[in-house]
Symmetry: C2
Subunit: 336 residues, 2 copies
């Protein structure tokens, strides 16, 4: 279709063949030098290395992958990298992958099932060796069918996959208890609207259990993760209007906590005096911007690191721990 696909004359990237020609040996010998396979005389080795430098040769991982079926490439699917949790997780994953000679294809699904499906297709076409999923808006079977190594961060991708997550129940438990200990009697729990079986949903389960044990009424509302800040604010404002007796909020995550605090401020309400607010996640950047936020922190770096190590192990045919739950920690701020 496009004419420019063809490499111009001799400006094409040199290959093993050109190196061989310059060095006066066969392509196979060059390959051997490249991979340190078999016996090669030091003399030949030097000639080849010199030739590679002379013509500025770079090996082609793509061609290699066609032979051995492995590209050392991992796909990672998140809803939005710009969300603090995902940004930090992606960074940790990429760093760990790179340290082990792997590369990352990044996908922002925007929590849209259609995009997620097309990303799955894209990843298959590009021979990724495994996928790390942090955004599940379709059936897990869609991933299982890929026949690839799978790691879910806060997602259950099925029997053969590895799952990495924080102690989600603990998050909801710590946050809710903190509010109750603080004297709250009408606690709002905000959760996103995912219908998928994600461990994160346990935050809400814990909330239910804890308020029930305390003999308090449950008040759970959903906020769509995909909406804009303004839309989320409107939802929160409406909830506060309809429930003027709310004196505590478990916001579900720190971004929602910030939005709640913003809505409150606009109506002259402050935390912790009028309403106490507890978030969740505690990403590094979030804490820089909101050092006073009371929240439950996840070890996001560790999550990313483990996810990367797990996918590498799976790709290598090893059997990593299949269901890791990381401890969480209540961070005392000034909003509760």
């Amino acid at each position: 279709m496009a004419r420019e696909g063809a490499r111009s004359k001799d400006s094409a990237k040199p290959g093993i063949k050109e190196v061989a020609a310059v060095a006066g040996v066969s392509p196979t010998t060059v390959s051997r030098v490249l991979n340190n396979r078999g016996y090669i005389s030091q003399e030949t080795r030097d000639k080849v290395h010199a030739a590679m430098k002379r013509i500025n040769y770079t090996p082609n991982d793509i061609a290699r992958a066609m032979l051995n079926g492995r590209l050392n490439l991992i796909g990672m699917i998140v809803p939005y990298v710009s969300s603090p949790f995902h940004a930090q997780a992606v960074q940790a994953v990429e760093r760990t992958l790179a340290e082990n000679g792997f590369k990352m294809l990044l996908c922002n699904s925007a929590n849209r099932p259609d995009l997620e499906r097309s990303y799955i297709d894209m990843l298959r076409r590009n021979m990724v060796d495994g996928v790390i999923v942090n955004s599940l808006n379709i059936g897990a079977e869609a991933y299982a069918e890929m026949g690839l190594s799978l790691v879910g961060i806060d997602c259950d991708l099925g029997e053969t996959s590895v799952q990495i997550a924080s102690d989600s129940y603990g998050i909801g438990e710590l946050a809710t208890r903190r509010l109750i200990d603080d004297g709250c009697s009408r606690i709002l729990c905000l959760r996103n609207n995912s219908r998928m079986r994600m461990p994160a949903n346990k935050r809400t389960d814990a909330y239910h259990d804890v308020v029930e044990q305390a003999g308090l009424p449950a008040l759970v509302r959903e906020v769509e993760f995909v909406k804009s800040d303004d839309e989320k604010s409107a939802v929160v404002a409406k909830i506060l209007d309809e429930n003027p007796d709310i004196d505590g909020i478990f916001a579900g995550d720190d971004t929602m906590a910030a939005i709640c605090l913003n809505v409150m401020k606009r109506r002259g309400l402050s935390a912790p005096d009028d309403i106490k607010v507890v978030g969740a996640d505690g990403a590094r950047r979030t804490m820089t911007f909101m050092p006073d936020l009371t929240t439950v922190r996840q070890d996001i770096d560790r999550i990313g690191e483990l996810a990367a190590q797990s996918i590498i192990a799976l790709v290598n045919g090893e059997k990593p721990e299949s269901n890791t739950k990381l401890p969480v920690e209540l961070i005392e701020g000034k909003t509760a």
Copy 2:
């Protein structure tokens, strides 16, 4: 080396060949159906499509790339995706690339020259068609030598590359003027320690010009971008100790602004009463967490979108605008 590289028996991913066998045609015909090339009878076309579905065939972009020399893959290098500016930029780039059938290989350089070099090597080996650079810690020649399409976000990568940036001088100008208009007479300017020729340095140039025009003394200090929040805080604390007369701070970016505000609060100083603070960047998440921050906003989404469009144009042999400067906007908050 590894035995598991070999595909097991027939569980291997089906290729064009298997499809051909099932459909009872030649591989060439399957290829034609796949690419809508030449004339094919509707009957054959249907048979092929049926066969593809039957054996769950997925085309191999990698093999294709070896033929036409194009993988539609773009590398993107940032210091840290977890930084708000970069997170938002990466997200915008990826979204735009995906909409045009391109994929992104993400690289976190941590501003380390050695990592940046190894990423360059990695990208070459993986046949990327172009690179978007948002982290320049080595000579631009290292990129030019790749012989690939290049787009620099706030980086000058040389003659043949495209450069996308905000009006950096305008950022420094708006911020500094805002502080002077507010009555500040001893304004601190924080900048990162990059020695590279980045447009972002013009923020400091503008600061110099504006304070000079106002007959005020200049006070510029460097803070290493790679340091931890605690280390940055210590640096800021030291600067404040040594210059107790500071009444205004142009923080360079919003993260530094947040750190300054945190240090101030710890010493009982508040903005804008004691010291006025103006940041820069105005990433979406930052504004959610710090809605009261006075800052100069860049259109980060637009930057990412333009960067993606430009690299695609370059890869396609077109000539996009080579040096785009995007307007910036002062956001009135309550810290100045």
